[in-house]
Amino acid sequence: MTPPEINKEIDINKEISRLVEEYGNDVLRIATVILKSKELAEDVFQETFLRVVRSYSGYRRESSEKTWIISIAVNVCRDYMRSAWKRRVVVTDDFITYSSDSDTEEIIEKRREKQALINSIMKLPDKYREVILLFYYQEMGVNDIAKVLRIPEGTVKSRLFKARTLLHDMIGGEAHG
């Protein structure tokens, strides 16, 4: 059944609101990690959903909604990243912090480890940070990551391996995975 045009518009508005609510934070987080800038991430947030609006009618649900939106967000990030004339951004290594109040030594040490790890992740080259983010944070499968990044699955796997190795080198411990 084809609803009247006016209802269709209302539906799209509602649908966009739902998508923003459902995936907005993911988009913002991904953009923040990839671009290392809260401000740019907010720009990406807006642009991502504008692109969602524009491509909404063409979305054929061949991939999951999440994969579709994350893919758009990653592409918007890449648009920003690949431009030599793009605005330079201040590295925000410390936008993810673990508070360290008066706790036991063990808890403080754990926090320190987490902080060191998140800092190391942020220092990974873009292509490794992307796969780490999608694999571990978004919990996407290799297949979906390959779709989002438009690279072969084998490349996703090798990047994951390399990313883990780099993290291991940066942390100085062992990498398991």
Binding site: E42, D43, Q46, A84, L117
Partner: protein, 383 residues
């Protein structure tokens, strides 16, 4: 934070730990209500614009009159080059992606003989010159932005063929024409950057000097339908800001890579993306990005570098192309979409070179007269 990182002791990194660290660390990052509301407003406007576009097309079809392009006066100020979107960023006071600085004359040394030093870890390469020239604002190329923009540059940029790089004085909206650097100075700068690129990447590419192209950007406020319609010709919509594009050829004489070069005017503590490298030439820094052949941007740029291909398109469209005519190539969308601007006789022509054809309402690689182009684009912008 960096300090605490230094004091860490080695520990094991497991999958679970990575996951947990990301989950907990990123959980604090949430879209604010303001950001959500502004985004939804923009989305709603976008949806309404689509509907208006459909209505307008219907009316035009029905009455078959030359609808006065009042649509353009709807004043939807849309930036041609805002991340592939026709929207002007308004949310964040922080500038977005685009800035189009071009190398200043001050950055060009008098003597190109110097030492080369590359620090790949920091993505910084430097080239020391024996006789550096003192920098001054007055020697900057026209439109060279020295400040971080408050808004994204629209990214309409211009590349020229067949001219030396110092003779770019004929465009409107330029304020420092008399102080442009000499071709020799630019030549030495670009040669140095090419050398640095080769050293960093272990390549032996040669600078295709004939293809060195200047790229300008639109005014930061963007170009709206009204501005387009009021413009007597394309010079009036161009800003003086921009960057340079340097085609590099391999040993077979084929363009292998295009470097975009923009003077780095950001504070020293800022970083660049992995796709960019900061090259230090004397005491000036330049952000250099290589557009690999085969990428969307690269493939379009490569075609744009072929002047004969462009003149062929124009001749094929029935225009008598003058080989001496100025060819301007404008980047209208983050380096993804371009328009070629030139003249045949008294006719001002525009040839879109797009990767996002649907976005602009014009046909890729079709030759339009300037009025035709303005009518279509401004209608598209005004929707």
């Amino acid at each position: 934070m960096a300090e605490s990182n230094e004091r860490r002791v080695p520990f094991s990194v497991s999958d679970d730990m990575i996951k947990e660290v990301l989950k907990s660390g990123l959980s604090e990052i949430k879209a604010s209500d303001e950001l959500i509301n502004i985004t939804l407003e923009k989305c709603q406007a976008e949806i309404e614009n689509k509907q208006k576009k459909q209505s307008r097309k219907f009316m035009f079809m029905t009455y078959k009159v030359g609808a006065p392009l009042a649509a353009g006066a709807l004043a939807l100020v849309l930036i041609l080059n805002s991340g592939g979107l026709f929207t002007k960023k308004t949310y964040s006071g922080t500038p977005t992606a685009m800035e189009g600085p071009v190398p200043s004359a001050a950055a060009v040394p008098e003597d190109a003989a110097g030492s080369v030093n590359i620090n790949t870890d920091e993505q910084v390469a430097s080239y020391g010159f024996a006789a550096p020239q003192v920098a001054s604002e007055s020697t900057r190329l026209p439109g060279k932005g020295t400040q971080m923009p408050e808004e994204p540059s629209s990214g309409l940029s211009v590349m020229r063929f067949g001219e030396d790089t110092a003779a770019l004085n004929s465009l409107a909206n330029r304020s420092a024409n008399n102080d442009e650097p000499s071709p020799d100075k630019l030549d030495r700068l670009f040669t140095a950057i090419t050398e640095l690129y080769n050293l960093k990447n272990g390549t032996k590419l040669g600078l295709a000097k004939e293809g060195i192209t200047r790229i300008y950007t639109l005014p930061k406020s963007g170009v709206n339908a009204e501005t387009l319609q009021k413009a007597n010709d394309f010079h009036e919509i161009l800003s003086g800001e921009g960057y340079w594009a340097l085609p590099l050829k391999n040993q077979d004489g084929i363009i292998d890579t295009v470097l975009t070069v923009a003077e780095d005017v950001a504070p020293a503590e800022t970083s660049v993306s992995d796709s960019d490298t900061v090259y230090s030439v004397e005491e000036k820094e330049f952000i250099v990005s290589s557009l690999e052949k085969g990428s969307i941007i690269g493939s379009e740029l490569y075609e744009l570098f072929d002047k004969s291909a462009i003149s062929g398109l124009i001749s094929k469209a029935g225009y008598k192309y003058d080989n001496e005519a100025e060819i301007i190539i404008a980047d209208i969308n983050y380096g993804n979409d371009f328009i070629v601007l030139t003249q045949a006789g008294n006719e001002k022509l525009v040839v879109p070179m797009l990767t996002n054809e649907d976005l602009f309402g014009v046909v890729n690689k079709k030759v339009y007269t300037w009025p035709e182009f303005v009518r279509i684009i401004s209608s598209c912008l005004g929707q």
